[in-house]
């Protein structure tokens, strides 16, 4: 069907906010550090291949859970620390959004039990969102929407225990994944924010866990319910979509690149981030890219995880304008320009301490 380009432009999924703001961000990662060089021989990789992957992808080490901890456990730890750090009680939150691909159960929604575990009252709302690497932006926009619509505070919990959905011997994906759960508090406060969203289901098979839901297809027959990645497709998708998304959100947010203090992108691998950074002509210091090398791919927690892991001092002590961009499984991608002002942002917690 022919579509008028101007009409299509007007129908874009874009949101602006003026009265919602991030109060704090806390991230908890898995307690077990896995060195890539140590696990690589078990994946059948030679020393030369290890060196290649370390150079090309930035693989070095990652943090995963050592036991049966779930994403909601990591998020609960982060949320408790967040509320404590902000001097708030759970009763002061009216909503909880849980963004994950690794819920406690297929049903019921994990957000509801997580809200109860944290002490949110029964008069609060809680729901799950099933998204991966774009999930933080989507969750943040939903939290902003709820706050602008009347709620005082919303807890956004994002993350995955991705180590549980990969074949530990699959060298294409296992050494990439880290486990993390972040909690972000959004509250009503004057602050400007702009969001844009994109979805393309034609790339459904680029990243997929087959046989993990109700649909059964002949091509999935006999495949384990573990994450399968078509790396080449994901690479192409990223380089095709992310630079233009960044250009578009800058335009929509009426910001010049120089006005952005930090470009905090999802952290799939170092090469892709460096490529985007150079193509967009962004200074090295403005676009952190070490999360993959230290924590692994944290999926929906990678943006808050990068703030907790590498930018906590600046986010704690300064007023900042940041551009966030998440992209991946779906295919789904989204970007936001958000202002923060001296938020509670301690350094990453390793393991659950209570």
């Amino acid at each position: 069907m022919w579509r008028n380009p101007l009409q299509a432009e007007a129908e874009r999924a874009e949101l602006r906010f003026a009265n919602a703001s991030i109060r704090g961000i806390v991230t908890t990662v898995g307690d077990r550090m896995v060195e890539f060089a140590e696990e690589a021989p078990g994946m059948g990789l030679s020393e030369a291949e290890v060196a290649r992957l370390q150079r090309a992808i930035g693989l070095n080490r990652r943090q995963i859970v050592s036991g049966n901890e779930t994403t909601s456990d990591l998020c609960a730890h982060s949320a408790r620390r967040l509320l404590q750090g902000c001097g708030l009680t759970p009763e002061q939150c009216q909503g909880l959004i849980f963004v994950t691909q690794t819920p406690d159960y297929a049903a019921p929604a994990t957000a509801i039990s997580l809200a109860t575990r944290l002490g949110l009252p029964v008069t609060s709302m809680a729901f799950d969102v099933r998204l991966g690497c774009s999930g933080f932006i989507y969750g943040l926009a939903m939290a902003y929407s709820l706050v602008e619509s009347g709620l005082n505070r919303v807890l956004l919990c994002v993350g995955d225990v991705a180590s549980k959905f990969v074949d530990p011997t699959d060298h294409a994906i296992a050494p990439i994944m880290g486990d993390a759960g972040s909690a972000i508090l959004i509250e009503r406060k004057p602050s400007a924010a702009s969001f844009q969203f994109y979805s393309d289901g034609s790339g459904e098979r680029a990243l997929i866990i087959p046989n993990s839901g109700v649909r059964k297809t002949p091509e999935d027959e006999g495949m384990p319910a573990l994450m399968h990645m078509d790396g080449a497709s994901v690479f192409n998708f990223t380089l095709q979509r992310v630079p233009s998304m960044i250009t578009d959100i800058l335009q929509y947010g009426a910001k010049e690149p120089d006005a952005i203090d930090y470009f905090v992108l999802h952290q799939p691998n170092k090469y892709i981030l460096k490529n985007i950074q150079k193509r967009m002509k962004v200074d090295d210091a403005k676009m952190p890219s070490d999360t993959q090398s230290v924590y692994g791919n944290q999926n929906s927690a990678s943006i808050p995880g990068t703030i907790s892991g590498f930018l906590s001092d600046d986010f704690s002590s300064r007023r900042l304008t940041s551009l966030f961009a998440g992209f991946g499984i779906g295919l789904s991608w989204a970007a936001a320009i958000v202002e923060t002002d001296h938020i509670y942002a301690p350094a990453t917690f390793t393991g659950i301490k209570d």
Partner: protein, 92 residues
């Protein structure tokens, strides 16, 4: 004048030192690198070539775009196309 063919060729040879291929890669204008090596080796080739160009001209030239891993459009299906692609990337 920058000898892009030499730089690209040296980068490829450096990468191939650490890559096992089913059949040896012979470097000629028609060489199909895309089908000869895996995706990690292609990323390695991008990195190696970018690094050598940066050393020669003093600035970073990003070589990866959405065509690199596209089986239909990739410039790596043909060595002379790849050299042209690198030259154009440097010029742009």
């Amino acid at each position: 004048m920058l000898d892009v063919a030499r730089i690209a060729g040296e980068a490829l040879m450096s990468v191939l030192e650490n890559v096992e291929t089913d059949t040896p890669v012979e470097l000629n204008d028609a060489a199909n690198i895309f089908d000869a090596v895996d995706s990690f080796a292609i990323v390695d080739l991008l990195l190696e070539t970018e690094g050598r160009i940066e050393q020669e001209i003093g600035r970073y030239v990003p070589l990866a775009d959405e065509t690199i891993f596209d089986a239909e459009k990739t410039p790596l299906k043909n060595w002379s196309t790849w050299v042209d692609y690198v030259e154009k990337s440097i010029a742009s």
